[in-house]
Amino acid sequence: MSATITEKIFSGRCAREVCAGDVMMAPVDAAMIHDITGPLAIDKFVEMGGKRVFDPAKVILLFDHQVPADSIPAAQNHVMMRRFAEEQGILNYDVHEGVCHQVAVEKGRVLPGDIVVGSDSHTCTYGAVGAFATGIGSTDMGFALRFGALYFRIPESIRAEVNGTFAPRVGAKDLVLSIIGDLGADGATYRAVEFTGPAMEVMDMPGRMTCCNMAIEMGGKAGIVPPDETTRAYLAAIGARTTRQKENITPDDDAVYAAWKDYEVTDLAPKVAVPHNVDNVVDVTAVAGTEVNQVFIGSCTNGRYEDFMEAAEVLGDQSFSPDIRVIIVPASRSEYLKTLRAGLIERFVEAGAIVEGPSCGPCMGGAFGLLAPGEVSLSTSNRNFRGRQGSTEAEVYLCSPATAAASAISGVITDPREVA
């Protein structure tokens, strides 16, 4: 029977073939909790009568949103979760490793064909390795920790077939922003988005993570890239176990899709999502010259070595504008080390940036880097909602690392293709 990736993944776990619309209690291969939604999930687990989690080895636990603790309540949450991890025998990455989604993937905790839940909406990032991964609330997470399973309605899928070759300084972030602009902030609600086609096949793992990460910004339940040689090479390089890898989870072209969309990237311009919705997407040229007060390069969307390399290439030997704050936050310790060893951190600091330790950073307006009323942020993260990075009277624009770097040099939104 022809099937989408999502249908194949769930059929692989069920006693029968399933199709979109079916509802089932399916087992989960991993469950991720962090310092914001974890404490409530643990409370719910206990309220549900939970004594031992379903499988400590399948629980991914860390702190990333408020690290190092930015308040006494945050510190108390960390203490509570440390105790829980210790009692339950769960490996705790604590504040040491970085942003949950980057860490879950780079530690090999998520493999192709897995069904994964995380109490964070950007859990869909793990679709980059061919997993079905979705964000859930804390009560659902309490249930998953208790039973190792959760009710799933198998979503219909949208096929995003991506053709062409990116121009220099244009990449995955520009693509996914353009798709969100096309489908809208609720264009994929209750659906999985499958990113396929020649441009996806040649895209590296960080780029695929960027695309899948933002599936939620069009309402998607999951974003998935079919696992291929790039996936296998990535998993081999990080020393991930491969025993769980599922065969044949490539989507069938004649599967039933809710929509099939063709995208062409050859002439794609750098994109910017303007305030206050992620689907307000325009070419960078439409907002070029807009003054910014802060540029943030980082997050689970764009905080990897390759993102910093792109930014550093744009920066060259120039300096960042002294009139603005440039905040650089690697998504994980591992990405930080790669960036550091390549000399990029030194270059960024020389150029005037503030480099912070691996964390969510200014993305969600909690830990640091908040905006005052009237201020403007340009950010490589994933949300530009009103108030997301501080004051509700501030504005957040979203863009790629190349656009962020070009703009950080000039202090105004700048087309990265115009920077030598």
């Binding site: 769930f10 776990r13 069920c14 006693a15 399933v18 509802v23 089932m24 209690m25 399916a26 087992p27 914001i36 939604t37 404490p39 409530l40 409370d43 719910k44 309220e47 549900m48 009568g49 949103h65 408020q66 308040s71 309540p73 945050a74 108390q76 949450n77 109490s119 964070d120 909406s121 859990t123 964000g135 859930i136 609330g137 804390s138 009560t139 659902d140 309490g142 249930f143 039973f147 399973a149 009710y151 309605r153 902030a185 609720d186 609600t189 209750y190 939620i216 309402g219 919705n277 969600m364 307006g365 909690g366 949300r383 909602f385 009103r386 108030g387 997301r388 004051s391 509700t392 009277e393």
Partner: protein, 162 residues
């Protein structure tokens, strides 16, 4: 039973900003609900009031703090033309009824609304509007009184692997 009317794409950062996420108590969360985007809500919302939104209500973060903040304000019904997926499920799990009403846009600020979920309609200022049924598997959770209570009724998990 005042209606608080909102537009499209009400996101969870608007419902409860990120800086309040170390709070888990619904009543305390409610004091910051819609802070900065609708400052009259927290002081004036009363038990039994109803929130009405447009498309894609509750988009964004998975933070359960969002329905908890609404519930803490005494509101147990949110009506919208459509909901973001995680928020919808979080509402069911925390005891807030998310009501999908294709005519939600016609309901106005201050209207009086009565919802009849089992009968599949609501009455807004005397006018009847159809509402969509809650999916069957979620009705079981609502009937149990929430996911925590539902969990206690499970004797053996009906896994799809069997």
């Amino acid at each position: 039973m005042r209606v608080w009317k909102f537009g499209d794409d009400v996101d969870t950062d608007a419902i409860i900003p990120g800086r309040f996420l170390t709070i888990y108590d619904p009543a305390e969360l409610a004091t910051h609900a819609f802070e900065g985007t609708r400052d009259d809500f927290a002081p004036e919302a009363e038990e039994g009031d109803i929130i009405v939104g447009g498309r894609n209500f509750g988009c964004g973060s998975s933070r359960e703090h969002a329905p908890l903040a609404i519930k803490g304000a005494g509101i147990t019904v949110v009506i919208a033309r459509s909901f973001a997926r995680i928020f919808y499920r979080n509402c069911i799990n925390t005891g807030v009824l998310p009501v999908i009403c294709p005519d939600a846009e016609t309901i106005r600020e201050g209207d009086t609304v009565e919802v009849f979920p089992d009968e599949g309609y609501l009455i807004a200022n005397g006018v009847r509007h159809d509402i969509e049924p809650v999916p069957a598997f979620m009705q079981k959770i609502i009937a149990a009184g929430g996911l925590v209570e539902y969990a206690h009724t499970i004797e053996e998990l009906e896994l799809c692997t069997k």
